[in-house]
Each structure stands twice: as structure tokens, then as C-alpha cells.
């Protein structure tokens, strides 16, 4: 055990001194005002349909429950591949996101489809297990075939000022991912202020995150427009400084098509066209898809259909 820790620390040390990046302050009042203002964009007709179809392709369709079964996951994958049976122009979704034990089932269902298999790992959702166990969690999920890993940061370390620990864990998780993409969950609902969110975003990006993600979905509040805006601004500054495009994933609490469009507006007007793609923006959601489908059907038929016309999973 202690050997493992030592060797892990050694690998980090090889990269040189790990000084977490400097960070910028965030003004709470103004960032909330800006996020709210962007929520007032009027998104109608063709814009709405295009936005909702994009949102479907950006979705990480998620099930993260203790009661998940292979059957549930297979059902979710079917929905991921063809969200609307009579309209092939809708979907498929960006990825299916499951616990590690469910990864083989998802891989089996989605093989060759282009839909990614994302797995939460690193002792999700708390992250409060020894690092070797968390890294092993990652390696096994990747071994099962996950090509995207959603890790959690050590929020306790972040809040107590152990920034180097937060940073090192991300670096090592990234190594454990190999070719798999790494999404770093900050769990913004536990970080207490936008300043800490901004700092954690900067640390995660410097440490090698491919995506930064707001929340596990297990903590309230989860994603909000202003916290997403703060993270998008961090991504923008990282891009200005390095030329590297980091992805963004708001997750948790996004349940309606209207909310999804609000997030797309935030991306469009903060980071621009390059980020309006599933490669760089994802929604982590379990119940959002059906509301989006309902709105798409409403635009197509000019009438709302009952919730039971859409499969629950």
C-alpha cells in the first residue's frame, strides 16, 4: 500500500514541480446576472429544433443507481442509439454513462455505433477512498472497454487548501486512463463559491482533464447556469493561454429542453462555434432526453403529446 503511494508520487515528481496554476477571482453578482441574461435569448422554430437535436447528440445518457441491472443498461443503450423510433435524424446520443460493472454490457450494446461508453470511477461519488483503489477503479473501467472516464476530485483536499493533492490525483488518474478521455467532476455544489470552482477548474485543466464537469448528480445544487459560465470562462482562459480546447459537461438538475437550450446559449456566446459539438460539450442527464424529444415532437406536429408516448428508458 505505502509502496503504491510512493511510486505514484514518484511518477508525479518526474513531471517536475507541480505548482497548481494561479487563478482569477469571480464576481458572484455579475456572473449570475450574465448567466441569467443569456437565459433570456428567444430560441424559437428552426433554432429550437437545431438546438434540441444538437443537445441530443451532446447527451451523456446516464444511469447511476445501485439498482441498475444489465437489462436496464441494455434498454438505455437502445434508447441512446435511436431516441425517436420514427426519426433517424434525432440522435444518437454522445455517450452512455454507467457504473464500472455495467460497462461491459454497454460496450456490447454500443459496439460500432460511435456512441461512447463513459464510466464513473475513482470511488464515485465521494472520491473518499485511497488513491490506489481509485486508480484501480479507473484501470478496470478502461479495461472493461470504457473510453471515457468521469472522475471526482477530492473536494475535502480542495477546500482545505491541499491543491497539490487535488492536482496530483488528476494527473495520475489521467495516466491511468490511457487512451480514454478524462472528465473531471468538481462537484461544484460542495465547493461553496465560484472562486473555488474557478480554482478547481484551472487545476483540473492544468492537470490534464479533457473535460471539466460540474457535478455527480448526487449532490444538490448540481449544474446551474452561472457555475457553468464560470467553468466556461476558465476554459476560455485556458484556451487563450495554451491553444488547447477543453470540453465542458454540466450534469445534474438539467431536466427540461428549455434548460438545455439555455446551456447551449451559454456555450455559443462564451466559447463560440468550436465548442458546439459533442466532442467538446456534453450534458450529463437521465431525464432530460424525454423532455427534449417531447419538444421536438411538438415542433414537428404542432401538438404536445402525453409523457407515455415516450419510453421511460
Amino acid at each position: 500500500m505505502s509502496n503504491l503511494v510512493a511510486s505514484a508520487a514518484g511518477r508525479v515528481a518526474d513531471r517536475g514541480p507541480h505548482i497548481p496554476p494561479r487563478t482569477s477571482p469571480v464576481d458572484q453578482i455579475y456572473v449570475e446576472e450574465r448567466a441569467a441574461a443569456l437565459g433570456k435569448r428567444s430560441i424559437k422554430k428552426a433554432t429550437k429544433v437545431a438546438g434540441l437535436k444538437l443537445a441530443v447528440r451532446m447527451m451523456d445518457l446516464t444511469t447511476l443507481e445501485g439498482k441498475d441491472t444489465p437489462g436496464k443498461v441494455r434498454s438505455l443503450c437502445a434508447k441512446a442509439l435511436r431516441p425517436l423510433e420514427h426519426d433517424a435524424s434525432v440522435g444518437p446520443v454522445g455517450a452512455v454513462c454507467v457504473y464500472p460493472n455495467m460497462v461491459p454490457v454497454a460496450v456490447d450494446c454500443l459496439r460500432g455505433s460511435g456512441v461512447h461508453v463513459a464510466s464513473v470511477a475513482t470511488a464515485f461519488p465521494s472520491g473518499l477512498s485511497p488513491l490506489p483503489i481509485k486508480l484501480d477503479d479507473v484501470r478496470r473501467a478502461v479495461g472493461f472497454g470504457a473510453d471515457e472516464i468521469d472522475m471526482v476530485i477530492d473536494r475535502g483536499a480542495m477546500l482545505s487548501g491541499e491543491y497539490a493533492k487535488v492536482y496530483d490525483e488528476i494527473v495520475q488518474t489521467k495516466e491511468a486512463c490511457g487512451q480514454a478521455h478524462l472528465k473531471v467532476i468538481l462537484e461544484t455544489g460542495e465547493l461553496g463559491s465560484y472562486d473555488v470552482v474557478r480554482h478547481a477548474s484551472d487545476i483540473a485543466m492544468a492537470a490534464g482533464a479533457d473535460f471539466i464537469k460540474t457535478s455527480t448528480g448526487k449532490v444538490t445544487p448540481a449544474a446551474t447556469p452561472p457555475v457553468t459560465l464560470v467553468m466556461l470562462e476558465a476554459i476560455r482562459d485556458h484556451y487563450y493561454a495554451t491553444g488547447k480546447r477543453i470540453g465542458m459537461k454540466p450534469a445534474g438538475g438539467i431536466r427540461t429542453a428549455k434548460q438545455a437550450l439555455h446551456y447551449l446559449v451559454l456555450v455559443k456566446e462564451t466559447l463560440g462555434d468550436a465548442w458546439l459539438t459533442p466532442e467538446l460539450f456534453r450534458f450529463g442527464a437521465s431525464t432530460l432526453l424525454n423532455d427534449v424529444l417531447m419538444q421536438l415532437e411538438k415542433e414537428r406536429t404542432q401538438a404536445y403529446q402525453g409523457a407515455d408516448y415516450f419510453s421511460k428508458e
Binding site: 450574465r34 433554432t47 493561454a241 455559443k268
Partner: protein
Amino acid sequence: MTMQKTPRTKAQITPRPDAARPAGPALEFGDAWTYAPAPEARDHVKLKSRYDLFVDGRWQPAKKYFPTISPSTEEKLAEVAEASPEDVDRAVSAARRAYERVWSKMKPGERGKYIYRIARRIQEKSRELAVVESLDGGKPIKESRDVDVPISAAHFFYYAGWADKLAYAFPGAGARPLGVAGQVIPWNFPLLMAAWKIAPALACGNTVVLKPAETTPLTALLLAQICEEIDLPPGVVNIVTGAGATGSALVSHPGVDKVAFTGSTAVGKRIQQALAGTSKRLTLELGGKAANIVFADAALDQAVEGIISGIFFNQGHVCCAGSRLLVEESVHDLVVKKLRDRMMTLRVGDPLDKNTDVGAINSRMQLDKIKELVAAGEREGAERFSTPCALPQKGFWFSPTIFTGVTLSHRIAREESFGPVLSILTFRTPEEAIEKANNTFYGLSAGIWTDKGAKLFWLASRLKAGVVWGNTYNKFDPTSPFGGYKESGFGREGGRAGLAPYLEIDG
């Protein structure tokens, strides 16, 4: 992943910052996902083809009429009466009668009730007022809907509450109304300026004759309709439309006890000269060339939002616009880069489109003034960046514009452009920021962006400006006094201080 060990923002201290070619990766704001047109409906608005003068509670014809157009399409919206000196005289006489027989004798609480009714009626008609404001003035519907109209109602609500509490506004002193107020307002916030003028005047027991600007008379006329609808006693509020000659007749009328003017410094000076030697009270709210000061320690992304709101809100037709950006030299390049990217997302066009951020320039005359000053900026050697957005063929338009490399001696750093044109200067120390901020003959407003509270207050107390915003900009509230130093005028509007100009205060 190789670790990036360079500092997050490379220091680029070049002798001459080059905003035209910002270094590093650039964002693209194109058409990957475009917003479809989202026009606010205007079919619920029924404008009359011709508006008479609202005098003594009735609509009275004038000898001459002039058209008012939409600056975004140049379509004629209506014809409006041009009040002659005789018309103004009738209006002032009506106001005098109403003052002596009704309004000054009314119980203050009853006065308050009328003012509350105006406020509520503005809320009820808010959609119509917002659409007409955007049609007649060119400002984006989101601003008329979310700023102009609600704050107008808020002013009436606020001052209605003061009507029966004037004794508490100035404790121990007697407070009496002045009589008839002659009020002349500008075209940038037509309804809101009418509210700023009329609400405190009425609450204090005065009657008013108000002249709206010739390019934006319609919402003041709708306000006259509201006065009619709520049964305001005849003559308490009179609206006389017209141009400069009408305004001149109003302020120089011997029956006027108090003059309140908001507009250009040049006209303000002429009014002050005309009133010299008379017993008339005067308040002036004139031009500005506000410094918006951004420190390196500020929340820069939010500061950029404040810069945008400071200069592009209402096309920059704002007397307190943050038209001089003073940015700490160490973050100049980064701030300019962020600002340019942010400007690329500004949507310029149809004022009635709910997604429009920047509307039409109010008039051809104003457009010509802006163009002249911008040309001077280029001649003087400052570097210009204007967003490459497509502008409509008809109407009066100007792309959001910034100038870098501006010095204090440039005309674009000294003269008010009253348009979407920002001049960017740098400073190195807080002392230098104060010196540069105060080096103007104006003194209406200023903004400070810093993460350090102590620095913010230290600076605010040293700026010669009537309003200083800290980590925000262009925020208006009826409880907050507004007014200028130096050639930005004198007297305060808003808050308890806004009562004083409409009262005789003894003791």
C-alpha cells in the same frame, strides 16, 4: 498531456499594444447555431396617426405638425404637434391654475394615490410602452422591456410614497412646493426621463409642463394618455411636443418657477444663461465622459461584461456611459482580447427582435456626429476596431467600436460621442487612474473594477463624479440619487435628494 508550465497569460509589454492583431488562439463566433428572428409583436399597439398637445387635461390641436420616424426603418410612425410659444403659454397657464386651485390644496396622501395610479397603469401597459419606445427611439426591446419601462414605474411608485412624508424627508424644516415646473428631456430614455422628472415634481405638490425630445415624443404622449385614463386633475401634467424652439419658450416662460433639463452641455449652458437674473430654480443633468477603471486584480470576465454594458447599453446613448476605459497596463492586452471576443457576440439589428443587443442610432444627426468623432479618432492615430456585423440597409446604424492606443489629448478621450464608441487608455498606479479619470470637464459617473474592497472605496471618494459604480455599471434605481459634478450639471434626481429641487425648504 504535456504539462504547460508557462504562466497563464504571457506578459506582452510592448510599447504600443496592437489591438488589431491580438496574439494567441482566437475564438470563432459564426453560424454553427444561429438564432432565428424573434420579433416582439407590434400588432397590439395602436398608434394614432396624429398627436395633439396634452394641455389642461385635453388634447389640443396646434398650428403645425412634424413627423416622428422609427430610426431603424425610417418609417413614419405618427405626426406630432409642434407647440408654438402661445401653446406653451396656454400649457403653463393651465399648470398654474391646476397648481393653485387643485394640486397644492390636495391632501398629500391623495396626491400620492394619483401617482400610484400612474405607476400601476405603466405596469399594465408595459408591453405597449416597451414596443413604442423601441419603435420610436431604436433601442432594443429587451432594454425597453427590462429597464426603461419597469424603472419608470418604479420611479412613480417610489415618489408616490414620499408625497405624504415630505416632513420626514427634511426633518425640522418646512417643505413647500415651488409651483410650475418646466421640464425638458432628451431622446435617449424618453419614458424613463419623463418619469424621473414628473414623479418627484408631482409628489412635492408641483404641476408640470414637460417637453419630450422631438425625435422621441411618443411614449411621453402615451404617458399623457395614462394621466387621462387615471383621471389626473386637468393641468397637473401637460405635455407639449416640439423641437428646440418649444423648449426655449418653455424654460424662458415667466410663469415657470422651476426648470429641469436633461440633455447636452451646450444647451444646458444656454439655459443657465437665459435663466440668470430670474428667480427660477434650475437643475441640469448634462453630458459625461465617464472613466470605467479596471484593475488587474478585478474579476476580468465580469469586468468585460461591465465594459460592454457601460458603453454599448442603449447604443451608448447614455449620459453616464463608461466611454473611457482605463485599464491597468499589465492586463491591457488580455482585457482587449476578451472585449473583442465579447463584442463579436453582440447582435446589432432590429430593435424589436428579442435577441437584439444593440439597436439603431437615434437619428441621422446623431449618427453624423458619431461618424465625425470616430473619423477624428482615426486621424489622431488611435487604432479602431469595429465589429464586422452586417447592418440593415435602411435606418441609422453604427457598429460597436473600440479605440486602443488612445491618449488623454485625443478628441475621442475628451468629447462625448454619445454612441457605441469606447476609448481605451491605460494606467499603472491607482493615483494615475484617479488623475486620468478626473482629467475631464465632465463629472457624471465612473466605474471601478477591483477585487479589493478597500481600494474600491479609497478610489470612489477621490473621483469627481456624481455616481461611482463598484464592480457594476449602468445600474439605476429610484432610491439612488443621480447627478453630476463640473459641466455634467448640478442637482440630483432620485432618492430623498431628488425631492429637494422641487421644494422650498425653510430652516
